[in-house]
Amino acid sequence: MLEIRNLFCGYDSKIILQDINLRIENGELLGIIGPNGSGKTTLLRAITRVLKPERGMILLEGKDIWQMGFRELAKRIAVVPQSFGGGSMSIEEFVLLGRIPHFERFQFLETKKDLEIAKRSMSLTDTLKLKGQLMGEISGGERQLVLIARALAQEPKLLLLDEPTTHLDIAHQVKILDLIKRLNREFGLTVIMVLHDLNLASEYCERLVLIGEGRIHKSGRPEEVLNYQIIEDVYKTVVVVEKNPISSKPYILIVSEEERQKKEKNENKRIDSGLYR
């Protein structure tokens, strides 16, 4: 589906991504994880043609994305961004914006087909009931669903999500990710999502790509990537990795500095008392 070859990418001569090589197969659900500033969003921006790579190539179904037209690309890749606008638009109008790449040259009104597709994507995301409300009036969780509905209206083959669960409560996090998983399973949609929450990434993604300082540090199944040595190495934080008793996927526990010091002190005490016994 998507192939990234020797990608070097950055802003104004400051290279952020270095020598990225990645293959994403049809129907895959891929999670991209990594610390802040490691280049996750930059990678997404390179894939969506917002950022021109310094070197390397990105091929979508074997075609260089820079050889494709903007509309052609938007018919294949849809993005669920972090930021959003359109506060004064109704939900339906907003979702219909996703049909723009499919409009003919001199078409000014939506066809029946456009309306049907918009309706279907709204019912898939459970946002049909919001239809008439304004974008500025709905909650954060609903907004995320509407953004996914708009992306689905583009009828893409590849869906990119940039931290779809930030600022959401656990119920909405699960709802959004369950929906994405369903879209991936039932409709064969290939999904790449950037996630900050390692536990969610572990639970939902088949494959994880860990980016650290602009390079792919490790790629593989969650059990392979989410190993405490790797995490501590990339994030420079002490963690404990356990297993989820239900799904048996790895989950990560953090340790606060205070607790760590306490533990160290205790250990030292033990050593001290051992010495002077």
């Binding site: 961004p81 930021s83 004064s88 638009m89």
Partner: protein
């Protein structure tokens, strides 16, 4: 969805009706009042009567010019506000009016219009506007990317520079020239040359049609540049072409009619309150509403203290500002009750 289209058609018809009504009203009133009923008989009588020449040589050209200029400025305002995602941007923010005013001032002070004819005034205005457009445009391009915020700031700065230069020119110019400069800067729809009126009308109508090629691009741009790209919009090309369209609209209007403020700022907001923010209906509605608004203001300007005339820019500012503040408070009340 049909409801949406009905809603749009309703508003376009209402605004078209208002335009027609105001135009007829504007034909009737003035220092010589002509009742509506008489207009038809005057037209039938044909050329020759004084009333005929009042209608067709004095009032009609002003109405047509008011329609073209008001429509063009409002359209430019909608395009720029949509493109910049900034409700405070108006056609004059980009310094185009300043450039035009500077060109005209130079012409007046150097007495070129006396030597080479009165048509050099709009020509110099247009040249000044074109200079500023080119300058703002080239200064805001970095590495092939048109920086939207840079465009805005450069425009505001050039606007300040040209207004300071105008003040300098005014400070050292002769009294009789001073009057001409002030008169031009205040703006007026009085234009004896039919050709110029036709040119402005054709240009603004043509650009209205062209702007419709970008109605979806504008809708997508209202979410931000990157989002528009995700929706398959070639934002670089779109930004450039929209900037050129808005500049041409403003340049032509300003060089013929002078600086008539507030139309391009207020009308788009006002129209958006009623018809919504979809550019497919917003573009044409703003054009119609801007045209009606300017014709109405011009009618007031020439009748309030007739036979003397007020500068039309004064009326657009006062009337438009008051109307807008009123609508804004009203709208907030409605929203608050929801």
């Amino acid at each position: 969805m049909n409801k949406k289209i009905t809603h749009w058609i309703f508003w376009i018809l209402v605004l078209g009706g208002i335009l027609l009504g105001i135009s007829v009203f504007s034909l009737c009133v003035g220092s010589v009042g002509i009742p509506i009923k008489k207009i038809i008989s005057i037209i039938l009588q044909g050329r020759g009567t004084t009333e005929y020449s009042i209608l067709f040589d004095i009032r009609l050209p002003r109405i047509i010019l008011g329609f073209a200029v008001g429509g063009a400025l409002s359209l430019a305002g909608v395009i720029l506000q949509g493109m910049f995602r900034n409700p405070l941007v108006e056609p004059y923010t980009l310094g185009i009016s300043g450039g035009a005013a500077l060109g005209v001032c130079l012409n007046i002070v150097l007495r070129l219009h006396r030597a080479f004819g009165i048509l050099t005034l709009p020509l110099f205005g247009f040249l000044g506007a074109a200079m500023v457009i080119l300058l703002v445009y080239s200064l805001s391009i970095r590495k092939g990317v048109l920086k939207i915020q840079g465009l805005l700031l450069t425009g505001v700065m050039l606007s300040f520079i040209s207004s300071s230069l105008i003040m300098l020119i005014m400070a050292i110019s002769r009294t009789e020239d001073l009057h001409g400069i002030v008169f031009w800067i205040m703006g007026s729809l009085e234009e004896p040359n039919w050709l110029l009126i036709k040119v402005v009308l054709l240009v603004s109508m043509f650009l209205l049609v062209i702007s419709y090629l970008f109605c979806f691009d504008l809708n997508a741009l209202s979410l931000g540049e990157e989002e528009a790209m995700h929706l398959g919009i070639n934002t670089e090309r779109t930004k450039r072409l929209l900037f050129i369209i808005a500049s041409l609209l403003t340049g032509f209007s300003v060089s013929v009619a002078g600086i008539i403020g507030f139309v391009g700022l207020i009308v788009p907001h006002f129209v958006r309150m009623f018809v919504g923010s979809d550019h497919r209906v917003l573009l044409i509605s703003s054009f119609l509403c801007g045209g009606s608004f300017l014709i109405f203001c011009d009618t007031l300007a020439r009748t309030i203290i007739a036979p003397m005339e007020l500068p039309v820019g004064v009326i657009t500012g006062i009337l438009g500002g008051c109307l807008f503040v009123y609508a804004l408070t009203k709208k907030q009340v409605v929203l608050g009750e929801k």
